[in-house]
């Protein structure tokens, strides 16, 4: 008897003393779990504080495999019930629950809405080991209007995990993918907290041991004005519909600060599909849509600027002393350069005119001559000074640069070994068409808006921004937008004023553009320039793109915009009325929009 009892005592001593700490660790691992307290992502507002996104509650159904019923019959019964609730095949469910760590909760239903939650919650008492956790999911207001600006959040992909691990991201977190959700990721993302909780054998939380509360993300107030954004989207959509077009973009900027007041790209798409996990079918449909709704044309659509580029050519010629504001040049229906014929848009001679008049009438042959005088290298320099060919540093990913060509670029990109071939050698013809915004020149609606803002702004090229201010959870302002001058166009007031004068004349020519202003009741106090851009090479009979750039008022401008209609045809007919309509909306809603 003594031997037996002593044997038990020795075994006890071995378990409790020598293996004690290891087994005690197992007991703690059994019972104390660390749960992540999700930080609420910051809300995105417009500049006046109207919310553009909300965090809506959704629920996740999770199961702790270790807490499932242990006898086979009730276990099978519960699995069948879970399969029915989640709509998953039972064997698949069983596989996912046979995880390596039986104490780690397995998510078996995600993004359940409130109706689902209430229905499942009623069954929960019978579902041993199952529990529901709530999290927030982004719901975007008016995604067809704001979608391209706001973007969306999504789960981390493999590349994101690599990139974001050092910043403490968890693999099951979401991250801003496009739009300002991505651009302001650092501000919007809060810091997750955690809590060590004791759970019982059924996985129910019994007690909280330690808590580190989550720090919510900051609220971002965009420079965008929700009212003007809606007005711009409406004007653009109406203009596209009027002419049977499907794609276009418009960027409205405050030329005093560089703040983007509206940024619209059509067609839009439902960003809310992405936050809940888009279905394969929906995604395939978006990808297959020939109008490419997921392309944010405002920042990533690259098109030749056409005649809207002529202010650059004019400024360069004036500043380089090739012409003066008073220099008169002819505007024939074509010019002949070494046997190559370059046409004007008019088939008749418009006579002699100064540079302002040539801008107002958008005379191509005038600017062929001027471009030849300036030369491609100088022209490229001025184009870059106005911000062409430069990916703007704005708070969203995917911004494209456009392209400012010159002879070196052409040689590099030609891809043909013979540097004297037409594909490689810069020709005079390239210079001439460069002068009217063709050749290889490409720009984006955002770059165009910055360009026209610079013309409104005595040549100051501002850094465009989508930020108004950032506030923390308590409402304290912690970051404000500061106007940043990215560069100054190296041109005199006289040169710039001549270009601006041309834009004023264009919208004041009777029987022409002025008609739209009078029809809409919008004062033609400002400057505008249309552009009808050919693309896809001269041999192809593709519809031309239509541009309209506009700033107002003429003195002390407070608004500058670019309007783009893809395949829009004639700019005067397609793009200009949209711009005028946006201006009309702006004037009518001054009180609501007041930007400062």
């Amino acid at each position: 008897m003594v031997i037996v009892v002593a044997g038990l005592a020795v075994k006890l001593a071995q378990m409790q003393v020598s293996e004690g700490s290891a087994l005690a660790g197992l007991a703690r691992a059994n019972t104390v779990h660390r749960i992540v307290l999700e930080a609420e992502r910051g809300i995105i507002y417009d500049r006046h504080g109207s919310a553009l996104v909300e965090n809506s509650p959704v629920w996740t159904l999770e199961v702790v495999p270790a807490a499932l019923p242990r006898d086979a019959i009730s276990r099978a019964k519960e699995l069948a019930q879970l399969a029915r609730i989640t709509g998953q095949p039972e064997d698949q469910l069983a596989t996912s629950l046979a995880a390596t760590d039986p104490y780690a909760p397995v998510h078996i239903g995600a993004n359940l809405d409130e109706a689902h939650y209430l229905a499942i919650n009623e069954l929960l008492p019978q579902l041993t080991g199952a529990s529901m956790t709530q999290h927030a999911i982004r719901t975007y207001a008016d995604p067809l209007v704001f979608g391209h600006v706001l973007g969306y959040v999504g789960p981390l992909n493999d590349a994101d995990v690599q990139r974001l691990r050092p910043l403490g991201y968890q693999p099951d977190e979401v991250v801003g993918k496009v739009g300002v959700e991505a651009g302001f990721e650092a501000q919007l993302r809060g810091t997750d907290g955690w809590a060590d909780v004791e759970v019982d054998a059924r996985g129910q939380i019994v007690r909280t041991v330690v808590t580190k509360p989550a720090v919510p993300g900051h609220a971002v107030y965009l420079s965008v004005d929700a009212v003007l954004q809606r007005g711009t989207a409406q004007s653009l959509a109406a203009g596209l519909q009027r002419d049977g077009k499907t794609a276009g973009a418009s960027v409205v900027i405050d030329p005093r600060t560089g703040e983007v007041l509206a940024m619209v790209s059509l067609p839009g798409y439902d960003t809310n599909l992405f936050t809940r996990g888009i279905s394969r079918a929906d995604y395939a449909k978006l990808l297959a849509d020939p109008d490419r709704p997921m392309l944010n044309r405002a920042i990533a659509g690259q098109y030749p600027p056409g005649s809207t580029f002529k202010m650059v050519t004019a400024t360069a010629a004036l500043q380089e002393g090739k012409i003066t504001p008073q220099t008169l040049l002819g505007c024939p229906s074509y010019i002949d350069v070494g046997g190559w014929i370059y046409h004007n848009w008019a088939s008749y001679n418009l006579g002699y005119m100064n540079v302002a008049k040539a801008l107002a009438l958008s005379c191509d042959t005038f600017f062929y001559q001027v471009a030849a005088m300036v030369g491609d290298v100088t022209l490229a320099r001025y184009a870059r000074a106005f911000g062409f060919g430069q990916a703007k540093d704005i708070e969203m990913p995917g911004v494209e640069a456009g392209l400012v060509p010159d002879r070196i670029w052409k040689e590099i990109q030609c891809g043909v070994p013979d540097l004297n071939s037409d594909a490689c050698r810069w020709s005079l013809g390239d210079t001439l068409t460069f002068g009217i915004g063709q050749s290889y020149l490409l720009t984006t609606p955002l770059n165009q808006a910055v360009y026209v803002a610079a013309l409104a702004n005595q040549g100051e090229v501002l850094k465009p921004t989508l930020l108004h201010e950032v506030r923390d959870a308590s409402g304290a302002v912690i970051e404000t937008q500061h106007t940043q001058v990215a560069g100054k166009v190296p041109a005199s007031t006289i040169a710039l004023e001549a270009a601006r004068e041309g834009m004023r004349e264009e919208i004041n020519l009777p029987y022409n553009m002025n008609y739209w202003f009078r029809a809409a009741g919008v004062p033609a106090d400002g400057g505008g320039k249309t552009g009808t851009a050919q693309w896809g090479g001269s041999g192809l009979d593709l519809p031309t793109h239509a541009w309209f750039l506009f700033f107002a008022p003429y003195a002390a401008s407070e608004i500058a915009m670019s309007v783009f209609v893809e395949g829009g045809g004639t700019a005067e007919v397609q793009a200009a009325p949209i711009g005028v309509d946006i201006m009309k909306f702006y004037n009518a809603n001054q009180a609501a929009i007041r930007t400062q």
Binding site: M1, V2, V4, V5, G7, L8, A9, K11, L12, A13, M15, Q16, V17, E19, G20, S21, A22, L23, A24, L26, A27, R28, N30, T31, V32, P65, A66, R70, P102, E198, V199, D200, A201, R202, V206
Partner: protein, 369 residues
């Protein structure tokens, strides 16, 4: 010789029993079991203890046939009208209270075997066979409930009492040999879950969530106790329900987690002291029947303590055996206390056969008799 009642009974035994009952209640309280009910069971058990102590044990010998018949009747009744829980048919409902006849039968077997063996001059092969025949029917009824734990206690009581009755080592050896030969038949007799438990005992990690869960969680709890324990009501494993059957079969794991190695050694020391008191009582028993009854109660309790503690710490396979006076349960508590009461009866009723005691004195006569 006119000794008073007070001087004849074992004083230390009730004290040790009281200590165990208090520790048991504390542990049951900590295990969130129905402790007021356990208080009731203990009260009933104390009543049974007193009644058994007052009842002249020698009359039990004459009642042996009736006791045996009653035991078989109860066990048959379980099979016919018993309630089923956790996959086994073990309970009879008596006036609304659950009665577990297999618990009661442990003590009845001790009394019946004592009556049978005390009449024998020497333990012949025939007598041995008779004892086996006596034990076989109730053992079969219990094994098929199924209740492996009680069956094991039956075997222990049989072997222990045969030994006390003077069986030769080679007799017990040949009995063991026969049992070994019968071992290949065991898989047919054991239920699936019982076979599984044996496999799990040999390798608990093979199915940590299924059959090995109980063993693993109990081991974790015992180990987590460390030297001084987590403190009463502070055992994580036990409080949060990770230890299964925490008020009954695995109550020792709860105790070990909360009171540590020191607590366990104290508990084992109390049990050890109780066992020594029982051996002493057997030594001073006035007749062979009394000696065998006390010895049988000793074997019954010792086997249960060893098996229960052993399975809690993973050195013995799991079988549903309560830790006497610590585990929650009416039938077990009352049976244990009644058995200890019978031991006191043997002490108390020595005067009627006092000449025998005067002859043997206080010398230990366990083996020599």
């Amino acid at each position: 010789m006119t000794r008073s009642v007070w001087s004849r009974i074992d004083h230390l035994q009730p004290l040790l029993v009281g200590m165990l009952a208090v520790l048991g209640l504390m542990t049951i309280f900590s295990a969130h079991a129905d402790w007021p009910r356990q208080v009731l069971w203990i009260a009933l058990g104390v009543a049974a203890y007193c009644a058994a102590a007052a009842f002249d044990y020698t009359r039990l010998r004459r009642l042996a046939v009736a006791l045996y018949a009653g035991m078989l009747l109860l066990l048959v009744a379980v099979h016919l009208v018993g309630r089923t829980a956790l996959g086994a048919r073990r309970w009879l409902s008596v006036g609304g209270f659950p009665l577990e006849p297999s618990e009661l039968s442990k003590l009845l077997l001790v009394l019946v075997l004592a009556a049978y063996l005390s009449r024998l001059e020497r333990l012949s092969w025939r007598a041995l066979g008779g004892a086996l025949l006596l034990v076989a029917p109730p053992a079969y009824l219990i094994l098929t409930q199924p209740d492996l734990g009680t069956t094991i206690v039956f075997v222990a009581v049989l072997v222990g009492m045969l030994f006390l009755a003077g069986a030769r080592p080679w007799q017990l050896g040949s009995l063991a040999a026969v049992a070994l030969l019968a071992l290949p038949l065991m898989p047919h007799l054991l239920h699936g879950y019982q076979r599984r438990r044996l496999e799990i005992f040999l390798n608990p990690a093979q199915d940590p969530l299924g059959a090995g869960y109980n063993l693993l969680q109990a081991r974790i709890a015992v180990g987590a106790g460390g030297l001084f324990g987590q403190g009463w009501l502070h055992g994580l494993q036990g409080q949060l329900g990770f230890v299964p059957e925490r008020a009954t079969d695995f109550v020792f794991a709860i105790f070990a987690e909360e009171f540590g190695l020191l607590g366990c050694l104290v508990l084992l020391a109390i049990f050890g002291a109780l066992m020594i008191r029982l051996l002493r009582s057997a030594a001073v028993a006035p007749d062979r029947f009394g000696e065998l009854v006390v010895g049988g109660v000793f074997v019954m309790l010792f086997a249960q303590v060893v098996e229960n503690v052993g399975m809690n710490i993973g050195v013995l396979p799991i079988a549903g055996i309560p830790l006497p006076l610590i585990s929650y349960g009416g039938s077990a508590t009352i049976t244990t206390l009644a058995g200890l009461g019978v031991v006191q009866s043997v002490m108390l009723h020595r005067r009627f056969v006092s000449h025998r005691e005067e002859m043997s004195g206080n010398r230990v006569v366990l083996l020599a008799d």
